[in-house]
């Protein structure tokens, strides 16, 4: 049976040969997840919509350079989306971000820990990551999630958690080190 990664790799190959129907299928399958990723970092629908369009244009143009060896298609597309969002965010002044979505972020971050265990059909890799995250200190876990999912800088994470920036940096760094050895690769 074809895995979802294999199916998506095949779609990317078809995109590489100019098949726009394949891009449409990829879009239908992954745009809602990527839109959520972009919204979370950009906090504004107009920016996230524009970024989503750019992300899929990148996927279309770069499809021929995708190789399964570099990770799953979804990991690849998520990286394109996150990096684009980080670039956009950096180019904007801080006052262009409304604070509206911030509470939602923190609620979700808190809720995820308990919510996740109940998610059916979670892949083995996702479960392993979650188990490893649970072995970190709660502060390390939270700092990593805020940086990765929220797109916050060390400084912003420090502001939100209310700890000095040096402390945040070491939480993130040690947390990531521990994650790597826990995941064992």
């Amino acid at each position: 049976m074809e895995t979802i990664d294999e199916a998506r790799s095949a779609l990317l190959q078809r995109c590489a040969s100019g098949d726009s129907a394949a891009l449409r299928t990829l879009y239908d399958q992954s745009a809602p997840q990527l839109f959520s990723v972009l919204l979370r970092i950009l906090h504004r629908r107009d920016l996230a919509e524009e970024a989503l369009q750019e992300v899929f244009m990148s996927v279309w143009r770069k499809a021929s350079s995708y190789r399964p060896a570099r990770g799953s298609p979804m990991a690849w597309m998520t990286s394109i989306a996150r990096y684009r969002a980080l670039d956009i965010r950096r180019s904007l002044k801080s006052d262009q971000f409304s604070g509206d979505l911030m509470p939602i972020l923190e609620e979700t971050v808190a809720a995820e820990d308990t919510d996740l265990v109940e998610k059916a059909g979670l892949s083995g890799d996702a479960q392993r990551l979650e188990e490893c995250l649970q072995r970190l200190t709660p502060q390390q876990n939270q700092a990593i999630r805020l940086a990765f999912v929220g797109g916050f800088t060390h400084e912003e994470v420090a502001g939100r958690i209310g700890s000095p920036i040096g402390t945040i940096k070491s939480w993130v760094r040690r947390g990531l080190q521990a994650l790597r050895s826990c995941l064992g690769s």
């Binding site: 143009r61 770069k62 990770g71 996740l116 990531l176």
Partner: protein, 242 residues
């Protein structure tokens, strides 16, 4: 900064992927990563480890206008039928030239007046280890990219040049050692082709700085060496250390 230390690579890659590396440091890291395979692999591993965090977010349906705009960009209205081929050409050309543009700037692009493509260099797109553009005096004819990871040579005919029906274009490596030319296969007259290359061919490719194209009887040289005229040659650029 040192980029030959595995532990440091891991840390920098993690900092890049999680997004806390910002500003000029981020740009600099992207530049270095483009030509640094261990660093790029470390980044890919971190992306693969952490992207599950993003998958935990609840999906949000984007408005239909977003797809409509994407569709317009990849297939401008009024040219729905013929657009498939040009867009494919454009895309392959952009991907192929991007690698070279990094090294040669806009030189080759400006040599291609017929094509008039503004190539945006996207370093992430560069995954091929060896690349060549075979051109005549006016414009590129073939873009050649080698991918050792998958043992593939991808060749795109950017435009077609005249050739008798009973003849083929054959692509050759001219090894730096001065050894006899080694065939890489037949070049497509139009469109693109994926040629499979052996480990031995890849080894020779890594020690080759020049490719040549010969005109052979249809189906390729009967002797294993070029038998006809050699109208084109091109420098082979090694874009990533392997």
């Amino acid at each position: 900064m040192r980029y030959d230390n595995a532990e440091l690579n891991e840390r920098l890659a993690a900092d890049y992927v999680i997004g806390t590396m910002r500003g000029a440091a981020r740009r600099r890291f992207e530049d270095i990563m483009a030509g640094h395979i261990p660093l790029r692999r470390a980044v890919h591993r971190w992306e693969q480890r952490l992207f599950w965090l993003s998958m935990q977010l609840p999906p949000v349906q984007p408005p239909p206008e977003v797809w409509a705009r994407i569709e317009r960009q990849i297939a401008p209205p009024g040219s729905v039928m013929p657009v498939a081929v040009p867009s494919r050409l454009w895309q392959a050309l952009a991907a192929g030239i991007a690698a070279v543009a990094l090294v040669l700037g806009t030189l080759l692009v400006s040599r291609a007046p017929e094509v008039q493509v503004q190539v945006k260099v996207e370093k992430q797109a560069i995954e091929s280890a060896h690349t060549a553009i075979v051109a005549d005096n006016t414009a590129p004819i073939w873009v050649v990219n080698a991918y050792p990871d998958t043992a593939e040579l991808r060749v795109q005919a950017v435009r077609s040049v005249p050739l008798a029906d009973n003849q083929s274009f054959e692509l050759w490596m001219l090894p730096d050692s001065g050894a006899a030319p080694v065939s890489l296969g037949l070049l497509p007259r139009v469109g693109s082709a994926v040629l499979t290359v052996s480990a031995e061919q890849l080894r020779i490719l890594a020690a080759t700085s020049k490719l040549a194209v010969s005109i052979e009887p249809a189906g390729g040289s009967p002797t294993g060496a070029p038998t006809g005229p050699i109208p084109y040659s091109a420098p082979l650029l090694h874009t990533a250390p392997v």
